[in-house]
């Protein structure tokens, strides 16, 4: 069986969690992988939590869903609480430490802490926390390399205004930068 990676992105609705997963899906497709992206909605219609699962593989993907993702990227505390125990052994937990005020209890996983909201506020782009997180995540452990993702940046944001793309690229790169400096 081919290597299959499954990543779960989770956070509040409005934090851009679904977009993070889609970004990764586009990037993975860009480098010729098989990929699926699937959102899951909470019980609440709005507010509430949002999450999505991305599966990346060299072969046809049978199940886009899993109970036990290899990595989780959590943007807020409730998401960590909910998904910490689901991560596979030897998996990865990436945490937005600005909004998560605890560390994981699991000892069999690798943990990365990224203060995405603080970085975002610092760079004056409060809505950019998700791209910062993504940049940092990809640099540190991502299934797609930062350079590869950057190659497909314009394609991913196709149809968006240049200014928007630029703002996202900056946030993404700030995340990458932060990761480089803090690893």
């Amino acid at each position: 069986m081919a290597v299959e990676q499954q990543i779960l992105f989770a956070g509040f609705g409005g934090q851009g969690v679904l977009a993070m997963g889609q970004f990764l899906a586009y990037a993975a497709m860009g480098i010729g992988k098989e990929v699926t992206w699937v959102p899951s909605y909470g019980a609440e219609m709005r507010g509430g939590t949002a999450n999505c699962q991305v599966t990346i593989s060299d072969e046809e993907i049978s199940s886009p869903l899993t109970e036990n993702p290899g990595s989780i990227v959590v943007m807020n505390r409730p998401s960590l609480d909910k998904f910490e125990n689901k991560v596979k052994s030897n998996g990865t937990i990436v945490i937005n430490s600005s909004l998560v005020d605890r560390v994981p209890e699991r000892e069999d996983v690798t943990v990365y802490q990224i203060p995405a909201n603080s970085i975002a506020e610092a760079m004056g782009n409060v809505r950019g926390a998700n791209m910062i997180m993504l940049g940092a995540y990809l640099h540190m452990t991502g299934p797609v390399k930062v350079e590869e993702a950057l190659e497909h940046f314009d394609a991913i944001f196709k149809g968006k205004k240049p200014a928007v793309i630029e703002r996202n690229r900056q946030a993404f790169m700030t995340g990458v930068e932060w990761a480089r400096n803090n690893q």
Partner: protein, 352 residues
């Protein structure tokens, strides 16, 4: 061909357009609304018609009108909305009006919830409306199939003069994956029966009223003959490792695809598992089931409901092999959950 990352609902809508669908009539309901929204954006740009109907009833009757006028037309809804369309579907069936009806299923009964569901299996395959009729029912399992089966649905609809239902779990509508976009369809079936103005011919009538019982019986035999032909020609299923399987999982839609992984997982654990994924729910691929029943020791129907397709499996197997059921409601079981189930059965039966 370049691959494009698409959502299931979008791929379905785009597939319809590629198949020549030029009329979409719908009423919003989660999780189907994206299809209408896609059509609202696209139809005006290709000379097609999009009408947000005042209700699901109006929508299905617009489909009746549009189809009778000779066009490829579609509607999409979910749960309560599909129930409201049952009268219309019965009329379309008797009128032999080709069309595509999409059910992006949600949890029921009642208002239920917007979670993934397969609880409308009976409604879809047994005809939730009145009278003896069937619609072809297809159940895609991925985004590529969302496009391809939609195009197939339009073909079958025209070719057999029958409504075709596409049924999927809400999750699949939102699933994104890369697909190959198909070429637009350019050849169409003639529709000399269309009620589009009687210039240079005798008037056409689209009617489902048959007060004379002999004629009503004749009509029903005519429909039945057609249904038998379809049963000959249109059964579709994907099979996976069933040749030597002790236990055969039967699951459809995205659920079927998920179960594939469970089967692989079970195989890794030494259980000879296999999968049959019905692609057409009606006609049900009983032939594949029947032949698998000659070697398999046990069947497991996995459904996102309380057990509906299991009846079709049993009808196909006729008591030769036991059929078990595993079901969840409002949630697509994970592959791990199902493989556990398979392994439990294997252990219980002493196969491992």
């Amino acid at each position: 061909m370049d691959r494009v990352l698409m959502k299931g609902n979008e791929a379905l809508a785009e597939g319809a357009i590629l198949a020549g669908c030029r009329g979409f009539f719908g009423y919003p309901i989660t999780p189907s609304s994206e299809i209408a929204e896609y059509m609202a954006r696209k139809m005006p740009t290709i000379g097609g018609v999009f009408v947000q109907a005042e209700s699901e009833l109006a929508a299905i009757n617009m489909v009746y009108g549009g189809s009778s006028a000779g066009f490829r037309v579609m509607t999409a809804s979910s749960g309560p909305g599909i129930s409201l369309k049952q009268e219309g579907i019965s009329f379309l069936s008797e009128g032999e009006l080709p069309c595509v009806v999409v059910n992006v299923s949600r949890g029921g009964p009642g208002l239920g919830g917007i979670q993934p569901s397969q609880a409308d299996y009976f409604q879809a395959t047994r005809g939730g409306g009145h009278g003896d009729y069937h619609t072809i029912v297809v159940a895609p399992s991925g985004v590529q199939e969302m496009m391809d089966l939609t195009m197939q649905a339009f073909y079958w609809a025209d070719y057999h003069r029958i409504p075709v239902m596409i049924m999927l779990e809400g999750t699949l509508g939102n699933l994104m994956e890369p697909i190959t976009v198909r070429e637009p369809v350019t050849e169409f079936v003639d529709k000399p029966w269309a009620t589009n103005g009687c210039k240079d011919r005798a008037p056409n009538v689209m009617n489902t009223l048959h007060l004379d019982s002999d004629f009503l019986e004749k009509r029903n035999h005519h429909l039945q003959a057609k249904y038998e032909k379809i049963q000959q020609e249109c059964k579709r299923a994907e099979t996976f490792m069933i040749e030597d399987a002790d236990i055969v999982i039967v699951a459809f839609g995205l659920m079927g695809r998920i179960a594939k992984k469970s089967v692989s997982e079970a195989r890794k654990q030494g259980v000879k598992a296999g999968l049959i994924r019905p692609i057409t729910l009606w006609p049900f691929p009983d032939d594949v089931i029947k032949s698998a029943a000659q070697t398999a020791k046990r069947f497991l129907s996995v459904e996102i409901n309380m057990g509906q397709m299991i009846e079709d499996i049993k009808l196909a197997i006729e008591g030769r092999v036991p059929v078990e059921f595993y079901g969840r409601i409002g949630i697509s079981p994970n592959p791990e959950e199902i493989s556990r189930q398979i392994i439990n059965i294997a252990a219980r039966e002493g196969w491992i």
